[in-house]
C-alpha cells in the first residue's frame, strides 16, 4: 500500500519543549558505550569551553522519538507500517553543541516521498531551536518503506 503523497510539505511543530538533562545525556552515552567524560562530568566539558556536559553528536535523534506519537509519520492517513521501515540516510547539521539545561523546540516536515524500485523513500527535515528561536541543529532523514511501492508488495 503506497504512502499518501499528500503528506509532502506537511509541517509539524511539537507543542511541548524538550529539556535536555545531564542524566539523559549520560544514559544515551551509556547506551552507545561511549566513555567520553565530556558527556558525564561538567568539569571535563568546561575544560573544552562548554557551559555544561555536552550531548553526543547524534543525541538529537531522541527528540524525534519523543514527539513521534504526535508526528505526521505515525498518522494512519500516511499509511506507514513502521515494522517495514528501515533507516536509509541520516545527517545532522549542528549549529552549536547541545548542552544539559538546553530547552529545545522541534519543527518537522516531510520533504519528499518517492518510489525507488519496490520501496518508497520518505525524506524529512527537522529543525531544532531554542525556545527563543535560535538555531541549534537541522536533522535530515530518509526512511525506507520496504516493499510498499505500487506493485512492490
Amino acid at each position: 500500500m503506497p504512502l499518501n503523497r499528500e503528506f509532502v510539505g506537511r509541517e509539524y511543530t511539537a507543542a511541548e519543549t524538550y529539556e535536555v538533562s545531564r542524566e539523559l545525556i549520560r544514559r544515551f552515552a551509556d547506551a552507545v558505550g561511549d566513555p567520553n567524560p565530556a558527556y558525564r562530568d561538567p568539569l571535563a566539558a568546561q575544560a573544552y569551553g562548554h557551559p555544561d556536559v555536552v550531548a553526543p553528536p547524534t543525541f538529537l535523534t531522541v527528540l524525534t522519538f519523543r514527539y513521534f506519537a504526535e508526528s505526521p509519520v505515525i498518522d494512519p492517513a500516511l499509511g506507514l507500517d513502521y515494522a517495514r521501515v528501515v533507516h536509509g540516510e541520516q545527517r545532522f547539521v549542528l549549529h552549536r553543541p547541545v548542552y544539559a539545561g538546553d530547552v529545545l523546540r522541534i519543527t518537522s516536515s516531510v520533504s519528499d516521498i518517492r518510489s525507488a524500485g519496490r520501496n518508497e523513500l520518505m525524506t524529512t527535515r527537522t529543525e531544532v531551536t531554542t525556545t527563543a528561536g535560535d538555531p541549534v541543529a537541522e536533522l535530515y532523514a530518509t526512511l525506507v518503506s520496504r516493499g510498499t511501492a505500487e506493485g512492490g508488495a
Binding site: 552507545v32 567520553n36 573544552y48 562548554h50 553528536p57 531522541v62 533507516h87 541520516q90 545527517r91 545532522f92
Partner: protein, 142 residues
Amino acid sequence: MATTLAYAAVDVGTPLPAGRFPLHRATLVMYAGASGDFNVIHWNERIAKAVGLPDVIAHGMLTMAVAGRVVTDWVGDPGAVVEYGVRFVRPVVVPDDDQGAVLEVAAEVVEKLDDGIVVVELTATVGGDKVLGQARAKVRLA
C-alpha cells in the same frame, strides 16, 4: 577552549585511530530505551523475520553513533563535530549469541575547509561488509 587538536597539524590523508565495537542484543535494548526508538525489528526476531529481515538488526542510528566515536575519540571534544551524515547501506544483523556483531571503523581526513574545519570520511564494516556509505563528519579543530 574546544579541542586541542590543531588544524595545522592535520593533512588530507591523515588517518584517525581505528575502532572495533561489539554490538550485542543487550546493546540494542539499551539503545532502544535511551533513544526512544522501539521499532520491533530491533528486538523481536519473530517480527523481524516476518517482514523479510534475516534476524533482529541494529538501529541504524546506533551504528551511526558508535562509528562516530572514532571521530570524537580523536578530537576529544565531542562539541567539535559540526556535521555528521551517513547512508545505511546494509543492515547490521545482531545474532542472539555471545559474540554479537562487531563494527569495525576506520577513518581519515579527506578535505580541509576554511574556518579550521576538516572533513573526515569513515569506513564502517561488519564481517568485512560495508554497513555505512558516504559516512562523513565535519569537525572544527583548534
